[in-house]
Symmetry: C2
Subunit: 366 residues, 2 copies
Amino acid sequence: MQRRSFLKKASVGAVAGSAAVAAPVFAQDTPTLNWRLASSFTRGLDTLWGTGELFSRYVREGTNGKFNIRNFPGGEIVPPLQVLDAVQKNTVEMGNSSGYYYHGKDPSLSFDTAVPFGLNVRQMNAWMWEADGMKLMREVYGDYNIINFPLGNTGTQMGGWYRKEIKSVDDLKGLKMRTAGFAGEVLSLLGVVPQQLPAGDIYPALEKGTLDAVEFVGPYDDEKLGFAKVAKFYYYPGWWEGGAQTSLYINKGEWEKLPKSYQSIIEAASRAATVTMTARYDNLNSTALRRLLSQGTQLRPFPRAVMDACWDATQKVYEQTSAKNERFKRILANYMGYRDELVPWFRIAEASYDQYVGAALSRAKK
Amino acid sequence: MQRRSFLKKASVGAVAGSAAVAAPVFAQDTPTLNWRLASSFTRGLDTLWGTGELFSRYVREGTNGKFNIRNFPGGEIVPPLQVLDAVQKNTVEMGNSSGYYYHGKDPSLSFDTAVPFGLNVRQMNAWMWEADGMKLMREVYGDYNIINFPLGNTGTQMGGWYRKEIKSVDDLKGLKMRTAGFAGEVLSLLGVVPQQLPAGDIYPALEKGTLDAVEFVGPYDDEKLGFAKVAKFYYYPGWWEGGAQTSLYINKGEWEKLPKSYQSIIEAASRAATVTMTARYDNLNSTALRRLLSQGTQLRPFPRAVMDACWDATQKVYEQTSAKNERFKRILANYMGYRDELVPWFRIAEASYDQYVGAALSRAKK
């Protein structure tokens, strides 16, 4: 991780990917600031929304209330899927969103959230903080005048809710499904008709029948959004989100004016909020799943043939996108190269441990 | 030290987990403080040692250099296994250590690190921050006048280095093995002669032949400590450390004098450092393991019969310890109850995703 040496001019370039321009800084060490953070998430989704609030609380408390960030839910001052634009234009100083919501602008933004058959939570954290992830993402967000930080990760998501069982690849044909970003492109190769909707609009669409299936996050959020009431079959895993990171956006000009102490507090607070979001999901999902199952939800793994077809379609989409976009190709190689390096190690200590404990507990229950 | 003007009283109870007692605080919002942190770890182990340094850097930067924590490696001002005592007595204001080093004082302290067949990293984070873990650990450390925070987690560790292959439970008999805390008690039921040594003393003992086997952490640290030179067989998983947490200790009296802003910065910095340590290990272990394997290390899973014998012996030790110690019994029930709740959920989305990607990559290599 790169440290910033501030207050001295010309050193702003120490931030990966940022232009090496001298920028004005505040005269005081601890200026009073009132910033606005536009979130893509709504208050009701307390894990996603709450992570942004925890971040702002750490910043406010750490600065004795001098750096005050007010969080606005999606749609209140900025539409949920326009947070990136609002931060780029400095309509708000900060945003909390997901890179893959802006996949249409630039598919490389999806690497900042999750891509099909990509990194799990821990691999993503390692790529961002200890390998090339942050540097590459700063390069991409640089096009949008944004300094980004990770701000949460949901863990591996579920594969979504389906009105009918998915027994074969053919069952995907014609399926109108809510899914964000990259997954839609892959699934459309298999006949799915993907639709991108923010959280709040999904349930009404299912009710109206304009959707046959929906994937959102996992048991805790999905239960709140009521999907179980309109779709019975709950599939896993969400192969398009092995570990979905959410992000903090800061307008670059505003970031460069911050004193170094505030920048450091932001960095620490964003990491703290990131790991806390994962802990919250891990704490809440298991009980939510048990409630759903007790109320009739049918849990299903995707059939192996469906997984394999999705894997193959994914490779095609990666090839097509790489052929059109040189930077995407370069980041993909870095990201997938990292996955290929880390995954074999994760299969040794971690997976064998988890597998043994899981099996032992299953035996103990019988 | 300029830490002696207590002019106003205020509650410091707003930071989660701290006692809600009125306590004297510094007259200034941002007093200048120079604290010492005694670590159990040596500089050479840059992941363990470096996490403490990252923490201190976040605190120093976030306070504009006013709260300055100087980190001392194990043995420099405090012996590595006496950090808890030094913080308790306020010889140093802060420590960075592992609860299970003090298993002999109180076996409940081991829950703050790892216990056999216990929680993995993410389950541990969730237990500490989102369930009852922090509250219970604060109760235990309260006996030692200490306020604790998580400060790192290694992930699932390896099962250690052995001069001879472990083909059956009988091969454990008479084995002189370095292992910390609880694992030693379990392994001794199977005939192992456990020895507790700090990191720096292990290699000399192996060289002298006073040890037959050693477990420390995982490939990255173990490679540095040179174990591969004296023991060929590298076993997995380290069932006694499914996710070993390291800890920050703060003398309670000193903690209560801190202004709320410093307390909040400590909390955020400790979470940030915790997730960063895991990312560092995840980033470094895979390449270290490849190097070890290319130099002749033989990787072996523990045979199923050995794992089962260890599982059974673990339950016996838990029963014996519970019979003697009411608080241990109560914390064990909470901790293992949490494991039993979370593990089935982790087997669904996370494990099935990891398993699919791992298998797909193996196939792709052939």
